[in-house]
Symmetry: D2
Subunit: 150 residues, 4 copies
């Protein structure tokens, strides 16, 4: 789906917000591919991000799914708005066993208050990409707030 952003500065706005998320730095997540209504996040494998079988932890998969969805929706919001996750649902369909985790989210519906996004999360193992999780997420736009305010 093709979207026209209200704020032409949406790439910078998403990058700034992402950079303020200390948790993204802790896990070394990388923001990629920001388009109107779309966001992609990459995360290289690190043992410290794993569960009991040394695969990426489901919480990490959820983190990427939710964050990619949030920033996909944020690209379409007004310059003076901030965003909050309302809820999301995540299906884990294959073990997150590989060297790189990729979340790709797109906006399904951009409403005046609420947006709905889908995130697909892929695991790359030996260079081959495979779907490992799928999410559906609801976000809310808070007008006249400031995403950078504490």
């Amino acid at each position: 789906m093709l979207y026209t952003p209200q704020d032409l500065n949406y790439v910078r706005r998403v990058q700034d917000s992402f950079a303020r998320q200390a948790f993204m730095q802790l896990i070394q997540a990388e923001l990629r591919g920001i388009e109107p209504g779309y966001c992609e996040i990459h995360l290289p494998y690190q043992v410290q991000l794993t569960q009991q079988h040394q695969f990426f932890h489901a919480g990490i998969v959820a983190t990427l799914a939710d964050n990619a969805a949030g920033y996909a929706a944020f690209t379409l919001m007004a310059a003076q708005s901030s965003i909050l996750s309302v809820e999301f649902k995540l299906n884990l369909v294959s073990p997150a066993d590989g060297e790189l985790l990729i979340a790709r989210a797109e906006v399904l519906k951009h409403g005046k208050t609420l947006s709905v996004c889908r995130s697909d999360i892929f695991i790359v193992k030996n260079g081959t990409e495979k779907l490992c999780a799928a999410a559906q997420c609801t976000l809310i736009e808070l007008p006249n707030t400031n995403d950078s305010a504490g």
Copy 2:
């Protein structure tokens, strides 16, 4: 609801699995209050776990919700089984703004293959506890596998 565990060694089994999750060590999550069909996890505030407003990141809230649900269900499983998260849904109802995050999960239904749990996540600020998120989670029991195998 009162449950009778099949494996009397369920506390140790949960503790061992939790200890093998490197991600729990990275974020310094603490396993608390393991009962049959119940699990509680605590997580003290750390700036590195935050989003752009310096509150706990939604991914961290999701991590705790999913993990508490998984271990609540794991208490009721057979000694030789391992567990996987099938899916979960999380509503974020208040900002996770406080000094301590607590996830409390209980089993709603323990089936032969699938279990369903609810997790409530509370934020403690200046000593006062408040609901900040609520999740509903589906887990699957994998018989004759070994949770400690890589």
Copy 3:
């Protein structure tokens, strides 16, 4: 949880809205037990509401879960507001095999714009009640609209 309704006429408001839902009449659903932040709906067994094994259809279970949640949230809204379902998630934990289906929903969080409810759906067979489904639902309040307007 105890809630104080803003509109003391909440019982009548819920009854009127429910009565305007033609689908509730088609399936012969009965509104019961309206309290602030709470709603209960009963549905007697009818063959025409079943799936391929002659149990209540999952769509019927979902209908009751969503509707009970919506009216639980509606009890706490302003007199001039209408309500819409934003989303819901339903786990089907046991076959809906019995003579009566009961949905009981309560408000978990009543926010200024969004409310979150949980619905438990029970099946009564030979007089014994059993949990058959569990839902978590998000609702939105539309201020200064009119629930009775077409």
Copy 4:
């Protein structure tokens, strides 16, 4: 995604199961477009299926979403298997205001035990189709059962 069905008789198997669902007859739902891993269901507008604003009831939207997902997954299952809905999550993104409701579901992951599907639900008004809801659904295959057994 292209799938190869295990049972070449999958169209007939889906049609037979659908025909045994009395609730589909009550609401006059029509099964369309069965392909491997895909199912489409149509439902013409009827006042008796509406909520308080005379739009299709959310429960009807959910019914179609869940049923299309179930039959999409069922196309890929073994001839001797039956299917149950484990859970689903539905976002209602626009009012279901129109003359025809269409659910289109496809399998995202067909696993040995569990399948995950996405359903998109469209409302057609004056001949124009619009997304009105989106669902993500988990189904379970019950081997060596018989879908037609009571």
